[in-house]
Amino acid sequence: MKRVIALLMENQPGALSRVVGLFSQRGYNIETLVVAPTTDPTLSRLTMSTEGDEKVVEQITKQLNKLIDVVMVSDLSDSQHIEKELMLVKFTEDSFPKETFEESSIVSNSDGVINVQVVGTSLELDELITTLDSSKPIEIVRSGVLGISSNKDILSIEN
C-alpha cells in the first residue's frame, strides 16, 4: 500500500543523509522524496512516498522518529490528505498534442520545443503519461509527491 510520510527535520548538513540512509539500511523503499526549507529557516520539510504494509510503515515512522535530527513525523495517509505532484513534459513542436493541454500549461515555447507543466495526483499524472504515448514526449520529469492534510492538523513545532 502506498503511504505518504511528511516530516520536519533540523535544517542541518547531514540530516537528509540520515533519513535516506535509514531507508537503505533497513531495506525500506523510497518511491519519491521531496525536501525544502520551511518558513522557519531552522527546519526542512521532507515528504516521501513509500510502499509497505501497515507494520512496515509503523516501523518506518518509529525509526524516523528515533533519528536525532528528525523533529516530527506524520503519516499523512492516516487521515484525509491531499497529494500533489508537478510534472514537466517536453515535446517537439510537431508532435505536441494541443488538444490535451490548456494554453496556460505551456511554460516555454522556443526553438521548436514546447514544455508544459501539469499538477495532479500521482495517479492522474500516471494516466496522463499513458495517453501521451502516441505524441512521443521527448522528456518527462516529475517532482515527487508533496502532501498536506485536508483538515486542521498541521505539521508544526508550534502546537
Partner: protein, 581 residues
C-alpha cells in the same frame, strides 16, 4: 579558569572533564595532534594509549558497560577513524554509551581526498546513535554536552564527534563556557510508561498461569536490576535473561532459569515456548532468541517494556506495549500490582514452577562437571569456566570474545550482579574480550577481571597485551584453546557434513606462554585435567600480574542446547546424538 579563553582542543578536554570523564582511550595521529597536546598540558583526564583503535573503542565500551558511565575514545582521521568502526558497531548493537572523538583533516581540505581523509560521519552513520561534524571551534563545548546527553539517555548508544584539525588549533582561542544543561527539541526520550498500559499489564499478570519474565540488556543499562528482582520476587514468576541481560537477576537464584535462546537452557526455552504470558523487559526479541518468529510462543500474550518504541512490536507483536525506562516502568508496575492487593493464580504458578524444575532436572546444565574429572582424558571447556567460577567465588568481572567459549562462560558462570558480564552480544565481535577487559580493569583496579576467550578471538586484538603491560593491568586471560574456530567448526560439524573449511590452523598457533612472557606477563599452560584447578588458583592469586592461562580443551566439544533453525523454541539439540523432536 572555566571561562578563560581556550583553544578548541583545550575546550574539548575541559568539557570532557566537566562531563565527569576521568580517562579516555586513544591513539594519536596528525589530525588529532592539537588535541593530544592539550591532553599533555592538563591533569583532569588520563589518556590510555592502546595499540590499535579498535582496542580503544572496545576499552571505552568495556569501561561503559562495567561502570554505567560513558566511555570515551579518541582517534585520528582516516585509518584511525576506520579502525574505530568495528568498535562503534559493537557499541551500537549492544546500545552502550560511548563517545568517540575523531580528528579530521582541516575543514578546507574536506572533500579533496587529502592525506588520511575519510568521511567519518558518512562511514559511521548507520552504526551511531548520532554524530556531529564540528563546523567551528566555538561549537565544541555545546556539541560535547549534546553528545554525552544523547549517548547516555533513552536507549543509550555511541556518538561520534568529528573535529577538523583547524578547529583545535592552539593559536585560535575563544571565550569558553560549558553549558549547564541542554535541551534538544527533537530528542526527548520517554521515561514513564502509559498508566493505562501498566494497568493492562497488571491485568494480564493477575490472570497468568504460565508466566515468564524475559529480561535483556536494557535492564542492566538502565540500572533496573533491583526493580526487576523485586518484581520477580513479588510474583514468584520464573526469570530468564538474554545473553546481554545476564546478571540483571541473580544467576544463582533458584527462580532463575538461565539464559534463553540459541544456546539457552532447556528449561528457559521450554518455558518460553509453553508460556501463556511473556513479560519482556529491555529485550528485543532478537532472532537468536525467537528462532522462527512465526512459531514463537504462540500461546503467550506478550507485555513488552522498552525505552525504544521502535523495538516494540518490531519482530513480535506486543499485546501490551509499554514504552518507557525499564526502571520506571517496573516500579510503576510493582506499585500498580501492590495497590490491587495482588491476586495471582498461586496454585497454577506453583505448578508451573514445578514444571520448570522438572525440565531443569530432565535436561538442565550440569554445574558440577569438575567432579566428573576428565572426559576421555581431556578437559572440557565448561570445566574451565566452572573452575574460574569457583576460584573467583563468582565475584569476577568476566569479559568474553565470540564463539563457543562465550557461550560456555554465559552458561556456566552464574552472574549474580549486573555489569559483571561483558560481551559483544549483538554484533558478535571477536577481539572484544581483551580490550574491553582493559576498560573494566582500569575502572575497577582492585577487582578480578577475567577475559574468557579462545585461541581464535584472542589473536584478533592480541596487540593489547602491550597496553596491559604499559598500564599494569592484571587481567586474567582464560584461553579455552581447542586449536580451532570452535563455533564455526561446530556448525560445520552439524550442517556441512564435518567439512572443516578454514576453521583450523594446521599447527600455526603461537606458543601463547612465550608470547605472554615476551610482553612481560605470566603464562601458564594447562594440558591435563589434574592441573586445571591448581593452575586456575595460581592464575587468580597473582593479583598484580596479567596471567595468560592457556588451557588445552577437548577440541570436539559442542555447545548445547542449540536451537534448530527455522522452528519454534522447543526444537533443541541437547547433545550430538540427542534432540527434542
Amino acid at each position: 579558569m572555566d571561562n578563560a579563553k581556550k583553544s578548541g582542543a583545550e575546550a574539548l578536554i575541559h568539557s570532557l572533564h566537566l562531563e565527569g570523564v576521568e580517562l579516555m582511550f586513544g591513539y594519536p595521529g596528525g589530525a588529532a595532534l592539537h588535541i593530544y597536546d592539550a591532553i599533555f598540558n592538563q591533569n583532569y583526564v588520563d589518556h590510555i594509549l592502546v595499540r590499535h583503535e579498535q582496542g580503544a573503542v572496545h576499552a571505552a565500551d568495556g569501561y561503559a558497560r562495567a561502570t554505567g558511565k560513558p566511555g570515551v575514545a579518541l582517534v585520528t582521521s582516516g585509518p584511525g577513524a576506520t579502525n574505530a568502526i568495528t568498535g562503534l558497531a559493537t557499541a551500537y548493537m549492544d546500545s552502550t554509551p560511548i563517545v568517540v572523538i575523531s580528528g579530521q583533516v582541516k575543514s578546507g581540505l574536506i572533500g579533496t581526498d587529502s592525506f588520511q581523509e575519510t568521511d567519518m560521519i558518512g562511514v559511521s552513520r548507520p552504526i551511531v546513535k548520532h554524530s556531529f561534524l564540528v563546523q567551528k571551534a566555538e561549537e565544541i563545548p555545546e556539541i560535547i554536552k549534546k553528545a554525552f546527553h544523547i549517548a547516555t539517555t533513552g536507549r543509550p548508544g555511541p556518538v561520534v564527534i568529528d573535529i577538523p584539525k583547524d578547529f583545535t588549533d592552539p593559536d585560535y582561542k575563544f571565550d569558553y563556557s560549558y553549558p549547564e544543561e541542554i535541551k534538544m527539541r527533537s530528542y526527548n526520550p520517554p521515561i514513564k510508561g502509559d498508566p493505562k498500559r501498566i494497568s493492562e499489564a497488571a491485568d494480564l499478570i493477575e490472570s497468568a498461569q504460565r508466566p515468564v519474565i524475559y529480561s535483556g540488556g536494557g535492564v542492566i543499562q538502565n540500572d533496573a536490576s533491583a526493580e526487576l528482582t523485586e518484581f520477580a520476587k513479588l510474583l514468584n514468576f520464573p526469570v530468564t535473561n538474554t545473553l546481554m541481560g545476564l546478571g540483571a537477576f541473580p544467576g544463582s537464584d533458584p527462580q532463575f532459569m538461565g539464559m534463553l535462546g540459541m544456546h539457552g537452557t532447556y528449561q528457559a526455552n521450554m518455558a518460553m515456548h509453553n508460556a501463556d504470558l511473556i513479560i519482556a523487559i529491555g529485550a528485543r526479541f532478537d532472532d537468536r532468541i525467537t528462532n522462527d518468529p512465526k512459531q514463537f510462543a504462540l500461546g503467550a500474550k506478550k507485555i513488552h517494556i522498552d525505552v525504544d518504541a521502535a523495538s516494540v512490536s518490531k519482530i513480535i507483536h506486543a499485546d501490551v506495549p509499554i514504552v518507557g525506562s525499564a526502571k520506571d516502568c517496573i516500579s510503576s508496575l510493582i506499585q500498580e500490582l501492590k495497590s490491587r492487593d495482588l491476586k495471582l493464580n498461586t496454585e497454577a504458578i506453583s505448578a508451573w514452577n514445578k514444571q520448570v524444575d522438572d525440565w531443569r532436572e530432565e535436561h538442565g546444565l550440569n554445574h558440577s562437571l569438575l567432579e566428573l574429572g576428565p572426559k576421555d582424558g581431556k578437559i572440557l571447556p565448561q570445566q574451565v569456566v566452572q573452575s574460574l567460577y569457583k576460584e573467583t567465588e563468582g565475584q569476577a568481572f568476566i569479559t568474553s570474545d565470540v564463539g563457543q567459549h562465550q557461550m560456555f562462560a554465559a552458561q556456566y558462570y552464574h552472574f549474580d550482579k549486573p555489569r559483571q558480564w561483558i560481551n559483544s552480544g549483538g554484533l558478535g565481535t571477536m577481539g572484544f574480550g581483551l580490550p574491553s577487559a582493559m576498560g573494566v580493569q582500569l575502572a575497577y583496579p582492585e577487582s578480578t577481571v577475567a577475559c574468557v576467550t579462545g585461541e581464535g578471538s584472542i589473536q584478533m586484538c592480541i596487540q593489547e597485551l602491550s597496553t596491559c603491560l604499559q598500564y599494569g593491568l592484571p587481567i586474567k586471560i582464560i584461553n579455552l584453546n581447542n586449536a580451532a574456530l570452535g563455533m564455526v567448526k561446530q556448525w560445520q560439524d552439524m550442517q556441512y557434513g564435518g567439512r572443516h573449511s578454514s576453521s583450523t590452523y594446521e599447527n600455526s598457533l603461537p606458543d601463547f606462554i612465550a608470547l605472554a612472557e615476551s610482553y612481560g606477563h605470566v603464562g601458564i599452560k594447562v594440558s591435563k585435567f589434574e592441573d586445571l584447578e591448581a593452575a586456575m588458583k595460581e592464575c587468580v592469586s597473582l593479583k598484580n600480574k596479567l596471567v595468560f592461562l592457556d588451557v588445552d580443551v577437548d577440541p570436539n566439544e559442542h555447545v548445547y542446547p542449540m536451537l534448530e533453525a527455522g522452528n519454534a523454541m522447543d526444537y533443541m539439540w541437547l547433545a550430538k546424538d540427542k534432540k527434542t523432536w
